[in-house]
Symmetry: C2
Subunit: 343 residues, 2 copies
Amino acid sequence: MPSAPTIKEIARRLNISASTVSRALHDHPSIGLRTKTRVQQLAAELNYEPNQTAIFFQQRKTFTIGVILPELSEAFFSAAISGIEDMAGRHQYSVLMGQSHDEEEREKLIVSTMKKHRVDGLIISIAKNTKDYSHFNMLRQAGIPTVFFDRIPNLTDIHYVACDMVSGTVQAVKYLLGKGHRVIGMINGPDKLLASRQREEGYIKAMQKHRLKYDPTLVVSSDLTKEGTDKAMKKLLSLKRKPTAIVAFNDYVALDAVQFAVKNKYKVNEDLTFVSYANLPMSHYTAFPPVASVEQFPYIQGQRATETLLEILTSNAPADSPASPDHWKKVILESQLMIHNVE
Amino acid sequence: MPSAPTIKEIARRLNISASTVSRALHDHPSIGLRTKTRVQQLAAELNYEPNQTAIFFQQRKTFTIGVILPELSEAFFSAAISGIEDMAGRHQYSVLMGQSHDEEEREKLIVSTMKKHRVDGLIISIAKNTKDYSHFNMLRQAGIPTVFFDRIPNLTDIHYVACDMVSGTVQAVKYLLGKGHRVIGMINGPDKLLASRQREEGYIKAMQKHRLKYDPTLVVSSDLTKEGTDKAMKKLLSLKRKPTAIVAFNDYVALDAVQFAVKNKYKVNEDLTFVSYANLPMSHYTAFPPVASVEQFPYIQGQRATETLLEILTSNAPADSPASPDHWKKVILESQLMIHNVE
DNA sequence: CTGTTAGCGCGTTCAA
DNA sequence: TTGAACGCGCTAACAG
C-alpha cells in the first residue's frame, strides 16, 4: 500500500516545488492556470488529502472542541451534546467527548487529556461533587477558552450558558393556582444547588404575585435519591395543610414521588397533581406523567454554549483581556412551562 | 503570557541541546544523572508539557478513536458510548464523537471529518438508511481500521461486534409458554433487518422446541412508527386465534402497543401480556412495563468493540493482511432475557 | 508566476 | 555521556 501522497510527492512528479503545489491546491491567485490544473488533476488522481495533523501542528489549532459532561445517558445531556455537535460541525469543528460520571477525579483526568490533545476550546458541565477548581485554573493558564453550561462552578470570571429556572417555576406555580390549587408543595433539591435556590425563588415569587402567603413548610428538600424523595413526600403529606399539587425538582423525583403517592392510595391527578422539570422524554409514557413541566432547552443550551465558544475562538483575542467589562460572556435562557395533553 | 515552553526553550536555558532535553525527559539511560535532574527540574518549573500535536504528527498516530452513532439520545447508544469511552480511556485513547442522526449523508460527512482528523481507528453503528458503502471502502483504502457494532453493514470482510437476538427471543417465548400462553404474537420490525430475521428465527425455534406448530400469521411486522404498530396490533387482535401475549420488537414498539391495547379496552397483564427488547431504562416506570425484556448489553458491546479495535491497532499489522482466516474479527454476544418484578 | 528557505516541536539517527 | 543534523507535511516570507 503506497502511503498517503503528500504535497512533496506531487511536486516531485510534476517537477515543481512543494510550495507551488500548496498554492495551486489553495487556488492561490498567483499560480498559472496551467500548473494549477495540472496539480489539481494529479492530486485528485492520487486521492491526495492534506495531512490535517501536520496542519494542526503548524497552525497551532486542532479544530476540535472538547466537551465534558457528567453523564450522557441522561437525556438532558445527550440533547445538549447534540446541540453542541450540530453547531460545532456547522463551523467545521469536531467534538472530543468525555464523561465525568459525576466524579471530580475523572473530570480532572479528562481536562488534562483534552489539554494534551490541544483542543481549541472546552465546553463543560461540571460533575456534581466537584469542589476543587484547580483544573479550571490550569485551563485558563494554558489559554484554553472554556464555556460552562447548566452545571456551573461558583466562580465569577467565567463564560457560561445557563437556563434560569425562576421564570419557569413562576409559570408552573401560577398554572397550578389557575387550576384552583391553593396548597402547593415543592420537593426541592439540595439547598446548596443554585438550581434549588432558583426553584424556591420562583415559588415564592409566584405566591407573592397572587398575594398568597408563603408557607415554608410546603417546600421540602430531597437528596434526589428515591429514599430522599419518599421522606420528602411523607413530610408533605403529613402536614395539616396538605398540598393538592406538588412541584417536583425533576422528572426522576417526580417519578419516585408519583410512585410513593400511588403506593399510599392517593389518586394522582385527583387528590394530587404533579408538575416537574423536563429531563425525560419518556415521562410521557409513564403511568401518571406530570401535567406540565418546565423545559430547560438542553439542545439550545448546547448550541448557545458552542456559539459562545466559537465567538471567543474567532475573536482571536489575546486569550486574556479581562479589561473589557463584557469579557466574560454570560448567556441566560429563560425556562418555560410546557403543558402536556393528559388524556 | 509566555507561550508554552518547548524542549528547545529548556535546552537554551540550560545551554544544552534539545535532544539531550528530550532524552532526559524520557529517562533515557544514557543521560547523566546531573543533567537529567537539572532538565526535569526546570521542566517542572516551567510547567513544561510536550506538544502532543507535534508528537501525533511525527508518530503518525493521534491516540484518538472516532465513534459514529445514529443517535445519542437513544439510551442504547448512550450506554454503548460509555462502554467505548471507558475502555478507550483505560488505554489512553480519546473519543471523537459524531452522530449520523440516521442520515446517510451525515454519516459520510462524519466519516470524512474523522479521516481528516486522522483518527487511529473507528467504531461505527451505521445509520438506518445507509445503502451505499463507498465511505467504508474509503476508510479501508485509507488504512483506518473500523469496527462496526450493533447496526452492521451487509458486508463480509469487516470487523464487528453484535448481539445475537435469537437466544434471547427463544428465552422470551419459552418464558411465555411457561406462563401458560399458547397463542403468542410477535410484532417484528422491517423484514430486511437482520434484527427482524433473528427475532423470527428465535420465535420459530422456541415453538419447535415445544413441539408447537408455527403459525406465521402470528408474526406481523411494523415499520416501527406508532401508526405501523397500531396497524400491527389491529392485525394481531383480529385473528381468530387471538394472542394472549405479544413479543414486541423493542421498547418503543411495546409502549405504542400497550397504549393501543389500553385504548381498546384490553387488560394488560391479564388479557394481554407483553415482552420486549430493552432499550429504555425508563420503561420500568411506565404504566404497564413489559413483564420481561431481552437485554442486548450495549455497554458491553461498546467495550468489546473498543477492545477489538485496540487489538487491531496494537497488533501493528500492515493494515491489510486478509491472508489469515481470522483476520476479520467477529464478536457475537448472546442476548439474555431479564424478567422484571412487576408488583 | 514560481522556487528557495525556514520553521512549527519533537524523536531519532549518527557521530563525537 | 552529549550534540548536531534530519525529517515528519505543510505554510509562508522572501527572492527571483
